[in-house]
């Protein structure tokens, strides 16, 4: 049997099995899911080097599945994160009810994500896309809380995106008579599609919803924060990348290498669209960052931060130069890694402490050192500080923007990534630093099966910080699929088109040496007189904080910044959406006035309709 079909089958039947096994015992589905993901992953990694393809037909439509380098790049994300998340969730979900439905949807979404990337025709692409949407939707609302607020928005926005995509798909089909992706790209090359811009923009809208691009992002914070953390890592790490995956195809394969660049109008429109997207990405990054830093809930903060990070990725893709795309794909992978790790870490906190509200937690660093370590590493990567891998992506992005002449966009990006330090610190401080709570004195480190996946991700961040070439290799292959030729990369040296470079090995060596020197100096100097004290032992003007008092600064953390940036906070897109939605609903209410419930009215309708038809139709027919 074809491996691709087998993997899909394994995931989908695994989902069924997971659900059915929950009828026997609530503990089983977790293991079933783990086994399924493991089997699928192993199967994929055993065979992904080989050429894989499959095509079959369903109600007269040809479906094609195949692996290519671009696909493999994203498959790494899906399977890597998927297997870690399923290992993680076994313990995370331990005492929760209804695990069957959770794991069924978990596996469905992973399987369908794989389905999306291997689809080489729009129909199976769309089918898997929708399966992914509703399975993730079911996980978003899995806990039954805030269904209306979280779930409906997600589903509605996803539907808008999906339907935009569907429109584009059927339009493409009506133009070229097939759903094949390759045929579409060929048609683009040959300029055989009349309303290519419309189609592309519709497709982009569809992908932008999943990539949570402003102004289509409003589902994201709510959906991300309402999801069990074991899935949020996949959700934010891998699922949102499906939007990136699609955008890459459209922005690069259609816009950049369309063979129509000589056509002035086409070039103008496609460049305009790219620019608009790039700016939207920038605005997304900036605004989402601003919202992230006022959040009190760690998960919500990370949700907004995800949106911001996806903004960078979109910028990179929209700019579309070699370096920019490379940075975007690199950031996409890194975002999957560090955001996966972060959501897992926050999930560990949630499981051990019972809340993710940063105003209620503090000082967990001693209780959960591994979780802190993972968070710290991920946050450093997220903030883009060298020597971890986040910096590599950021660096490439900036260089790409500057060398490409997007001067003001780079400032916006810089602003948002500087502001990102604020929320980065917020989450580290909010959860792990500050005075220790007596309430959390009993808290222990999360179980090993939860810590191990996180630590693996963290280690990956550290290693790729110095040797990003590990990641560049699949990216370069993927970019060649997208149409770039001669993609160069180096194991440790980053360089831009102007020839400027950063040698990461030197950086990490210098940091390491300097740090070791300082460590030795500080640790051994006056070692006798040096001692650790409790975090309660602080100098508060001689006042003595009592045992139960916690002086950790948690509320209104960035109030001064909020005050300074008040105009930026004044208008919330979410609120606008809600107003629009409410307004529309009120407007739609008029339909209820049509149906008065009065038989006479209905009779009049019939007569009036008859007369109208007689008048109108007489002229028409």
């Amino acid at each position: 049997m074809n491996t691709l079909a087998l993997i899909i089958l394994i995931f989908f039947s695994g989902a069924t099995l997971a659900y059915l096994s929950s009828l026997i015992s609530n503990k089983l589905p977790g293991w079933v899911a783990l086994l399924t993901t493991m089997t699928g992953t192993v199967l994929f990694y055993m065979s992904f080097q080989n050429e894989q393809a499959l095509s079959f037909s369903i109600i007269g439509l040809n479906l094609e599945w195949a692996l290519d380098n671009y696909t493999i790049l994203f498959a790494h994300i899906i399977f890597g994160l998927g297997i870690l998340a399923s290992l993680y969730s076994v313990q995370y979900m331990q005492n929760k009810s209804q695990q069957g439905s959770f794991y069924a949807n978990f596996l469905l979404s992973i399987g369908s994500m794989f389905g999306i990337i291997i689809s080489k025709d729009f129909i199976s692409f769309f089918i898997f896309w929708e399966i992914m949407t509703w399975s993730s939707f079911l996980i978003v609302v899995w806990n039954g809380i805030g269904f209306r607020k979280n779930g409906i928005w997600y589903m509605a926005m996803s539907a808008i995106g999906a339907y935009a995509m569907l429109t584009a798909i059927v339009l493409i089909n009506s133009e070229i008579g097939t759903y094949s992706l390759q045929a579409f790209f060929n048609a683009v090359q040959e300029n055989a599609i009349d309303n290519l811009m419309l189609v592309s923009i519709l497709l982009l809208i569809g992908f932008a919803v999943k990539a949570a691009l402003m102004p289509l992002h409003i589902w994201a914070p709510r959906a991300y924060s309402n999801t069990p953390a074991s899935y949020t890592s996949v959700f934010s790490g891998a699922l949102s990348k499906m939007g990136v995956f699609g955008m890459g195809l459209v922005l690069i394969r259609v816009f950049r290498f369309s063979g129509l660049q000589d056509n002035f109008d086409y070039a103008l429109v496609s460049q305009f669209t790219s620019h608009v997207l790039a700016w939207l990405g920038g605005i997304t990054a900036a605004i989402a960052t601003l919202y992230a830093l006022v959040q009190k809930d760690a998960k919500k903060l990370l949700a907004y931060s995800s949106i911001a990070q996806l903004g960078y990725i979109v910028i990179g893709l929209a700019i579309g130069t070699k370096l920019a795309v490379m940075s975007a794909l690199f950031l996409a992978i890194m975002h999957a890694v560090f955001k996966g790790a972060l959501f897992m870490a926050v999930g560990a906190v949630e499981r051990q402490v019972g809340t993710t509200d940063m105003t209620k937690i503090s000082g967990l660093i001693r209780r959960m050192p591994w979780t802190f370590f993972v968070t710290l590493v991920s946050i450093i990567a997220l903030a883009g500080v060298p020597p971890l891998s986040g910096f590599v992506g950021k660096w490439m992005l900036y260089e790409a923007l500057i060398t490409n002449g997007n001067f003001f966009l780079v400032v916006v990006v810089f602003f948002s990534s500087t502001a990102a330090f604020l929320y980065s610190y917020r989450i580290l401080f909010g959860l792990f630093l500050g005075q220790e709570e007596d309430d959390t004195a009993h808290v222990k480190e999360a179980p090993a099966t939860m810590v191990i996946p996180m630590v693996i991700l963290a280690l990956f961040l550290i290693v790729t910080g110095t040797y990003p070439g590990i990641v560049f290799e699949p990216i370069a292959h993927g970019m060649e699929y997208l149409g770039f030729t001669d993609v160069t990369w180096n194991m440790t040296v980053l360089s831009n088109v102007w020839g400027d470079s950063v040698n990461l090995q030197y950086v990490s060596t210098t940091i390491g040496v300097a740090f070791m020197l300082a460590l030795i100096f500080l640790t051994f100097k006056g070692r006798k007189g040096t001692r650790g004290v409790s975090t309660k032992d602080i100098s508060t003007s001689g006042e003595i904080p009592l045992e139960h008092e916690n002086l950790t600064f948690q509320l209104d953390f960035f109030k001064p910044f909020e005050r300074a940036a008040a105009p930026l906070y004044k208008r919330s897109i979410t609120k606008i959406y809600e107003d629009v939605a409410n307004g529309l609903e009120a407007l739609f209410d008029f339909t209820r006035k049509i149906y008065t419930g009065n038989g006479q009215t209905y009779a009049i309708y019939v007569v009036a309709f008859l007369v109208t038809l007689l008048i109108v139709v007489q002229n028409m027919l």
Partner: protein, 181 residues
């Protein structure tokens, strides 16, 4: 001066010299003497030329200034601050009140002899001492430091039980946390 040098190793000498010339003060405004501190530190008397400057927190401070009478309520804070300071640390007490209670000698809530509660390096007499006197006091302390004689914290630690007993006697509701200061 010269005999001081002889009794110390060179490293000790350098350390003490730097301690002498860099005094971060924790001005604890316990009483009326606090008014003299600004005068001492600002332009007219300019204590900074002697390396004396204010420190905001006891962690960074070298010298604790007790500026006047000490109510028992304040004493608790003073002890706390003192214990939070890092060795070597010094205490300068201002005015008569810290020596013998001064005009508050029979007050029900004021301690009379500061020495009983925390070790004091230098008393500056007067009610109140003028900035000149304060600076003189500082210089005396500096001399003491340079001689390597001022090590307040060790004294406190060695006689901790005695100090604690005295402190307990006046501070009835002793709720000092049992931190490992």
């Amino acid at each position: 001066m010269e005999n001081k040098r002889n009794s110390q190793t060179i490293a000790e000498y350098i350390k003490n010299w730097s301690r002498k010339h860099s005094l971060f003060i924790m001005a604890y405004g316990t009483g009326c003497g606090a008014i003299e501190i600004p005068a001492t530190l600002t332009s007219r008397y300019d204590a900074e030329r002697l390396g004396i400057r204010g420190a905001a927190t006891p962690r960074q401070a070298d010298v604790l200034l007790i500026t006047g009478y000490l109510a028992t309520k304040t004493l608790k804070r003073v002890i706390r601050v003192y214990e939070q300071m890092q060795d070597p640390k010094y205490v300068i007490a201002f005015g008569s009140c810290t020596i013998n209670g001064g005009m508050y000698y029979d007050s029900y809530n004021t301690i009379n002899v500061l020495e009983k509660y925390i070790p004091v390096d230098v008393y500056i007499n007067g009610c109140m001492p003028r900035p000149e006197a304060v600076i003189a006091g500082f210089q005396q302390l500096q001399d003491k430091i340079a001689r390597g004689e001022a090590d307040n914290g060790t004294r406190y630690k060695e006689n901790l039980e005695w100090y604690r007993a005295n402190q307990h006697r006046v501070i009835k509701n002793w709720r000092m946390p049992d931190y490992n200061w």
